[in-house]
Structure formats: structure tokens, C-alpha cells
């Protein structure tokens, strides 16, 4: 693969940083402030999109890789940016959804007359700065740096309401995320550096960075480091370190939507899978037999989180546990170590993003329009808010994995991958989780459209949320369908990863 130097990834990051500063400076004038957010989001997406032809594999593009060294800390330890097909999947999705989220959060925050909107918007931009930084990292240190920036910059968003509940959720959030990062990832990173003398990611998913001698001689140590990495990037929501995510639902819904369905949690799974594929590599994972045990380990999260989701009446809580479950799909797919499995896992980064942000957008729209949080109170509401619940239905289908929505593409690849790997157990897990998904998503839509309103309640005067909210959620739902029908665009990137 040809490597070129370009400052575009740096520009994309600086745009988010500058956007945050401009938001802070124009805090007194809400329209200008939101204008800066939009300018930053659109510019960032534009810069990232402009790299698509460079990265996209031949014959559609040039199939190059962008590298940009920034700071050299120690030999083998640097801040270096890299853009390859894997980064682009995450970066394109996250930066595009930021544009939708800017519109949506303007509608949401103003609709509810939330306080401290300037801080909110500034931190939002900083969180995107960190998330895109993770996507564009060329080594474990750079990734760790941006990963921690995301943790710190999203704290104010979770604590936004500044009440007891908000502080409690935010405390849990920061404790889970920093303890795992410092307690597990940091020592893993240092030991990898001691063993290999570098933290730079490999060029392909097969070789990893461990010399063969190290894997043979220190297999146990490498296995321990691997476990530290899987558990240490706790933003990936793998049980038992997933509690922060339901706790973070105290945040305003745009945060839950973009950050806790797309940016932050995807930073977690992106980091995990990046390390699995580009630090350890398929060969090492095969040699130490790490793949299938990982798949079964996260399969527990897939099933358990779905079961917990069934029991939640609060819509956002149900969505949060659904996220925990769906994130593990991604790791499960990659852990199968077959090309189709890895592709299924990676493409789910994008698919889950579009679908889950739709669901959260819907939850927020319902809250703004009716101030309802619980599913049991939403019976019959679909007739008053058809667009919102229509989008919800589409996104639910994607979560379930029904054609022709994006989630089907994932399921197809994952099931094929499980068969390729000869893992009937994983096949059963996937099918079981599909049934559970039906169990907790279908009733929401069904009751909303066909159920009767609760006793003594009439839905007169309830109409759809403002257009700034409904349009983004419709767009996100629509894209889920487009990916489901025409998955080739995104699969081009995914196939470039597996080579």
C-alpha cells in the first residue's frame, strides 16, 4: 500500500478544536454559536470526505494510506496520524452524523430551554475532536491520548444537568472509563513497548507487531496483554465494565444519541478492534488461540444485555442496553478471525451508528413533544407522531437485522463468518439475540401504532417535534435503508481492511 503525507487529517481535527473555541467565544449569541457548530461539522465532514478518493481501493480510488507524524516523544513512541480504510469507516460516519446532531441538538436544547448551551456545544465539538483523533491514530499512544481526551471532554456533557443524578452518573462514567484506561490499557501499552520497542500499528491485519519469537517465548504474557486491551477500552461496553453507559443516560438526549451511540462507544470498539487486528494481528491471535474464546466471552454480553434491555421500561435505558449488546457484535465478528466475520464486525460500526442514532433521536423527539420517558406511556402515540415512530420502526428493523435495512448486512456477514469459523455456538447466539431484539423493539412500535392511549389520557394537541429534530432523524433512518439496499459503498472500505 502506498503511503503519502497529507495534512488533511490534522486539518479535520483542528476544525473541531477551532469550532469549540468559536462556540465559546460566541456564547452570547445562540444563532451565531450554533452557526459555528454547523460550520465546524460541515467543514470537518468535507475534509474527511475529500480523503475518500485517496483511500478508497482501486479501481474506485487510489488505495493510498495517509501518514502524518506530529510529535516524536521517544523512539517508537510518537503522536502520528494515519488515515486508512478502517479509519475512514469510523471517521466518515461520525463526522456526517455530527452534522445531523448539530441541527437536532439545537432543536432539542432550545425546545427544552436547557441551561449552559454554550458549554454543551463546545464540549460536543471537543468530543468529536477526540473521536476523530482516535480514528486517525497511527499508534497505540496516539489512540490512548485521544481516547482519554474523549473521556475528559464528555464529562461535562454527562453532568450537564448538574443535579444529584447528573453528578452521580458522571462520577460513575469517569471512574469506569479512567480506571480501566489507566489500570489496564496503560500497563498493557508499556509492556507492549517493552516487548516490541514500538507502539506503531502494523500495516495489515495479519502480522501484528509482535515478533514471532516473542509470541512463542512469552505467549502467556501476550495473552494477558490482550485481555487487558479487551477489557481496558471500557468504552466498548463489554461486560463487566459496561455500567457507565446506562449511567450516562442522564445526559441530554443529543449526547446519548451522538456520543453514547456513535462517537464515544465507537471509540471503544474501534480501539478494541484496531488493537486486535493491528497490534496483535490475526496470525498472533490464531497462534495463541485468542479469537474464539473472545467471541464467546463477548457473546455473553450480547445475550445478557439484551435480556436486561427487555426489563427496562425507560426508553433510553432500553436503548442503552441495546447499545451494549450491539457493540459486542462488532467485537464478536472480528474475533471470529475469518474474513467475512471481520467484515461483518467492522461494517456494523457504521450500521449500528446510523440506526442507533435514529432511535435516540426518536427518544429525544418524543421527550420534547410529550415529556414522556417510559415505553409504557407511549401506547398509541405513533398516530400522533407518525414520522418519529416510523423512523423508529425502520431503525428497530435494522437492530433486529431484518432486510432491507443496514443491520441485515451485518447479520448476513456475521452468520457467514460464524459458519466459516465452524462455530455453531456463535450461530445460536446470533439467532438468539435476534429473537431478543425482536422481543424488546417490536412491542415499542407495535403499541405506539396499534395500542390504545393509557386510561384517561388523550393525545390532543400533541404533534411532531420541531423540524430541526424530525428531519435529522428521518435522514438517519433513510441512510439505514440505503445501506441495506446498497451496501457496496461502505463494503468497499470494509473489504479494503481485510484485503
Amino acid at each position: 500500500m502506498e503511503t503519502i503525507v497529507s495534512i488533511k487529517p490534522l486539518l479535520a481535527l483542528l476544525v473541531a478544536l477551532a469550532g469549540s473555541v468559536m462556540v465559546m467565544l460566541s456564547g452570547k449569541k445562540p444563532n451565531i454559536r450554533e452557526g459555528w457548530s454547523l460550520v465546524a461539522a460541515v467543514t470537518m465532514f468535507g475534509i474527511i470526505a475529500s480523503m475518500i478518493p485517496t483511500i478508497l481501493p482501486a479501481p474506485l480510488g487510489l488505495g493510498q494510506k495517509i501518514l502524518l507524524p506530529l510529535f516524536k516523544i521517544l523512539p517508537g513512541l510518537s503522536v502520528t496520524l494515519r488515515v486508512d480504510a478502517f479509519s475512514m469507516i469510523f471517521a466518515v460516519v461520525a463526522s456526517f452524523l455530527w452534522i445531523l446532531a448539530v441541527f437536532y441538538s439545537a432543536g432539542y436544547m432550545r425546545g427544552l430551554h436547557e441551561h449552559a448551551q454554550t458549554r454543551f456545544n463546545a464540549c460536543f465539538a471537543l468530543a468529536l475532536f477526540g473521536a476523530i483523533g482516535v480514528a486517525f491514530s497511527d499508534n497505540l499512544f496516539t489512540m490512548y491520548l485521544f481516547y482519554e481526551i474523549v473521556s475528559v471532554c464528555t464529562y461535562p456533557l454527562v453532568a450537564h444537568h448538574q443535579d444529584e443524578e447528573g453528578y452521580e452518573g458522571a462520577k460513575k462514567y469517569i471512574i469506569y472509563l479512567t480506571t480501566t484506561a489507566k489500570g489496564l490499557v496503560l500497563p498493557a501499552m508499556i509492556l507492549i513497548y517493552v516487548l516490541t520497542g514500538t507502539l506503531d500499528f502494523a500495516d495489515n491485519i495479519n502480522t501484528g507487531i509482535f515478533p514471532a519469537g516473542v509470541v512463542d517465548a512469552q505467549g502467556l504474557l501476550v495473552t494477558v496483554l490482550y485481555i487487558f486491551c479487551i477489557l481496558g477500552f471500557a468504552k466498548n461496553g463489554v461486560m463487566p465494565f459496561h455500567h457507565w453507559l446506562p449511567g450516562a443516560m442522564v445526559a441530554p438526549t443529543p449526547v446519548s444519541a451522538l456520543l453514547h451511540a456513535v462517537a464515544v462507544v465507537k471509540v471503544g470498539v474501534f480501539s478494541t478492534t484496531r488493537v486486535m487486528l493491528y497490534v496483535f494481528g490475526v496470525d498472533t491471535m490464531h497462534a495463541l488461540n485468542l479469537g474464539i474464546p473472545t467471541a464467546y466471552f463477548v457473546a455473553f454480553t450480547v445475550l445478557m444485555a439484551s435480556i436486561i434491555a427487555l426489563s427496562k421500561d425507560n426508553l433510553k435505558a432500553r436503548l442503552a442496553y441495546s447499545t451494549v449488546s450491539q457493540l459486542s457484535y462488532i467485537i464478536l465478528g472480528v474475533a471470529l478471525l475469518t474474513p467475512t466475520g471481520i467484515e461483518g464486525g467492522i461494517v456494523h460500526i457504521a450500521n449500528h451508528a446510523f440506526s442507533k442514532i435514529t432511535l435516540f433521536f426518536c427518544a429525544g423527539a418524543i421527550y420534547v413533544a410529550t415529556h414522556k420517558k417510559n415505553i409504557s406511556e407511549m401506547s398509541g402515540l405513533g398516530r400522533a407522531m407518525p414520522f418519529t415512530f416510523g423512523a423508529f420502526a425502520i431503525a428497530s428493523l435494522s437492530m433486529i437485522g431484518a432486510p432491507p435495512v443496514a443491520g441485515f448486512v451485518t447479520k448476513w456477514y456475521l452468520l457467514t463468518g460464524a459458519l466459516d469459523a465452524g462455530q455453531i455456538g456463535i450461530l445460536i447466539v446470533l439467532l438468539g439475540s435476534t429473537l431478543l431484539n425482536v422481543g424488546y423493539f417490536a412491542p415499542v412500535t407495535f403499541k405506539a401504532f396499534f395500542g390504545k392511549p393509557p386510561e384517561g389520557e388523550v393525545y390532543t394537541g400533541i404533534k411532531e417535534a420541531p423540524l430541526t429534530m424530525v428531519v435529522p432523524l428521518m435522514v438517519a433512518a433513510l441512510i439505514s435503508v440505503v445501506i441495506g439496499i446498497y451496501p457496496d459503498f461502505i463494503m468497499n472500505f470494509v473489504k479494503a481492511v481485510t484485503g
Binding site: 510529535f71 516524536k72 516523544i73 521517544l74 513512541l77 503522536v79 499512544f141 490512548y144 491520548l145 482519554e148 475528559v152 453532568a159 448538574q162 443535579d163 444529584e164 453528578y167 462520577k171 469517569i174 471512574i175 479512567t178 480506571t179 489507566k182 489500570g183 496503560l186 500497563p187 508499556i190 509492556l191 513497548y193 517493552v194
Partner: protein, 508 residues
Amino acid sequence: MDFLILNNGFPYLSALIFLPLIGALLLLAMPGDNACRNWTLIVTVVTALLSLPLYWNFDLTTHLYQFGEHHVWIPGLNINYTLGIDGISLLLVLLTTLLMPLCVLGSWRYIEKRVKEFMVCLLLMETSMLGVFMALDLVLFYVFWEAMLIPMYLLIAVWGGPRKTYASIKFFLYTLAGSVLLLVAIIALYLNSAPHTFSIPQLMGQGFSTTFQLWVFLAFFLAFAIKVPMFPFHTWLPAAHVEAPTAGSVILASVLLKMGTYGFLRFCLPITPAATMTFMPYILWLSIAGILYGGFTALAQQDMKKLIAYSSVGHMGFVTLGIFVLNSQGIEGAILQMINHGITTGALFFCVGMVYERTHSRELSRHAGIGKYMPVYVTFLAFFSLSSLAFPGTNSFVGEFLVLVGGFAKNKVVAAFAIPGAVLAAAYMFRLLQRVIWGSPQNPDHTGLVDLNTREIVTLAPLLFFVLWIGLSPEPFLKVLHVSVNHLLTQVGTLPGGPMAVAKLMIP
């Protein structure tokens, strides 16, 4: 004088030592408080500027002591006035000279009584601190070492807080106890060396008997461990920090603590290498104990200064850990961490001092939620706190990373015990930040609280600059260490394997 590269031009080192002293004498003639402040600022800034050529003209290719000066002082006892710096002391000298102007700025309004005397003490401190780092003769070293004691005692005892008497006496007794042992070791070394000498470089590689080395090491170790302070010799530190005025705390944390670890590097390792190998495992475990104890205790503090003081115990544990893993990453990381701790903890003490000037309280709960009223202040505080918890991209991360790389390369079990310390650092610093920036839904009333003024921003900005510079590009700082550290390691490393048997018993 084969260890010294004599300086034939301008005597930089003597000038640096005596400039503050002369400044202090002239200060006595200054009328008025403001004249004293301005004059001290001028003197410290000139000293700082004068120290910069040391870095520019530093020869990176030799382990010999540079900018050397050698004058016979008391020929009968072979006592000489010998100065010189190598890679190990260069950064500490620069740290000292660069911090002093900030200390003056930080005390501008904080000190309102006996300004002249205060400034004299500051300048005397600067002279003796620089002397400690530059002296290559044990007697000269001891003179400067003891000379620090009085002005530091006065800084706490005169300008300190309510319990200043207790704190200053405790500081004095602890340090004096260490000094006595140091003197014993110095005399023992003189009597056992052939020919009798006080020259530090000539005492290295003398091949003293192992028993003698053990005793000398113990005497040195106690003196320096008190200064560092290593657990369990740390109890004077929180008391002294809490009661000392801001500038006192900054000097104490940033420079004085480093003298202990500097002593390990300059005396224990090269002069008594066999004893170093014998005691190494015990000291590693003591360092771990300090890291964990400091972290846990900091987590429980309500007083902001105490919190930072206990965090120092933890951070200095990382430094001693790095020194005694006895490999190049560990020692380079330890020296860098000494500088980092000086910058970061110094900055944090300035930060606490700045709110103390406004509210006359150091209680965490009293300052809950000031983020809304002092946004500039909390921005600085946030950066320094992140640096203190070794956030990637800040100076402490590089130091801690190197120390842990050295640690894991040496022994995985010992290093693994330091990891909870890193987690604890995040815990207590985030706790501090959370309280100060956000607080709880019931915050005290902060109306009327004004944000930082220009002088305060000028005090903190250079420190922030170094936090990010070292964090993102530490090479200019690390490159001066390589040769000296490697030389130090050869001095320790060429040893019979005997004492290692004990080491093997202690660490699995």
C-alpha cells in the same frame, strides 16, 4: 582534575550562585516594599537568563562535569571550591533558576508583612539550592545543604499559617537529623579514601569494602530519604506544605524534594554501588509503598494543599522507583519526573495560593463550584491537574512512562504494583477538579470572586508551556541526560554478582 572540564571564560556557575547572594545584600538597602519586590524580580530574572547559556553550551558528548571551576579552599584538609555540572544536575539547575522569578511573582500580594526579609530569604534559598546542585566537593556541598535550612525554616516559621511553629520545628528536626547522618558519612568517606579527599568524583570508584559501603549508604540514604521524602519518613512534608506560604511550598515541592533524589544519583549510586545493589529491592518496595500510600492518603484530604502534598509523596515514589530499577529508561524517566514534578506541583501550589489569597481558605468544600466564576483559573488548574495525573500529552506522562518501562523491564511484579498508584492519581486529581469546577447542587456562594489577573496568568503560563513542551517533545530535555546516565550505570554496573542473591530473594 580528569573529571572536570574547566571553564576558562566567564565563570557561569559562580556567577549564578553569588548573584542572588549579592542581590540579597543589596536588598537590605532598598526602601519600601514595592522596591524590594521589583528588585528581587530583577535579580531572579537576570539569574534565570544567565543560566540559559548552560543549556546552549552544554556538551552532549561527554559525561565529564562541565563549566568546571576549581579553587583551593582549605589545603590542609584537601577541601576545595569545586563546581561543575553534568547531565544529571543541568536540568535541576535550570528548573531552580526558572522557578524563582515565578515564586517572586506568586508572592507579590500574598506576602504583606516583612516583605524585605521574605525576599532576602528567597534569594538566600536560591544561592544555596544552586550551590547544592553544582558543588563537587563534599564539604562545599554540605555547606550549601545546611545553608538552606535556616531560610526555609524562616519562610515557614515567619510567614506561615496558624500551625507554623509546629510545622517549622518538625521540618527543622527531621532535616537536621538527616544532615547529621550526612555529615557522619562525609567524614567516614574522607577518612577511608586514599588519598584523603572530599572530592565527590574522586570518591566514586574507590572500591570501598562492602561493609563500609553498606554503612555509608545507610547514612546517605536516611538523609536523602527524609528529604525526598520517602515513605515512612514523609510526615514532616504535609505539615510543612500546609503551613508554608505559597512561595515556600513551591520551593519546597519543586526544588528541595529533588535534592533527596539528586543525592541518591550523585552519592549513593556511584560511591557505594555494591550497597546500592544490596538495598535496591528494599528501596523498590519502599517506593511502591510510598506510591500507594501517597495516593490513598491524597484521596482522603479535604485541604487542597495537603492533597497536593500527599500526591508529592506518591510522585516522588515514582522517582525513587525509577532510580533504583537501575536501567537507563528508569533513571532518565526519574530525572525527567523530578523536573516534571517541580513544574506541575509547583504550579498546583501556585493555584492553591491564588484562591487562598481570595478566600483565605484551603478547604476543598469552601471552593466547590468556582469554575463558573473563575473560568481562566480552572482552565489552568485543569491542565496542571491533568499533568499531575500523567495525562498523555503532558510532561508527567513521559516521565511516568519511562519509569514504568524501566520498571517493567526490570521486574514485572514490582512495576505492576505501581499501576494502582497511577489509577489513584487519576482518582484524587479528578476528585479535586470535580469539586473545584463543579461542586454539587449546593455550592457555597461565590459572588464577588474575581478571576486571575495578568500577574497571576504570567506566573502560571510559563509552567503550562513547559507542561506541554515536555509532554509532546521531550527530546531537548532527554538528550542532555543520555551520556551522564549511561556513565552512571557503568559506575554501578561493574560489580561482582554477590549482593544480587539478596535481590533475587526479595523480588520474584
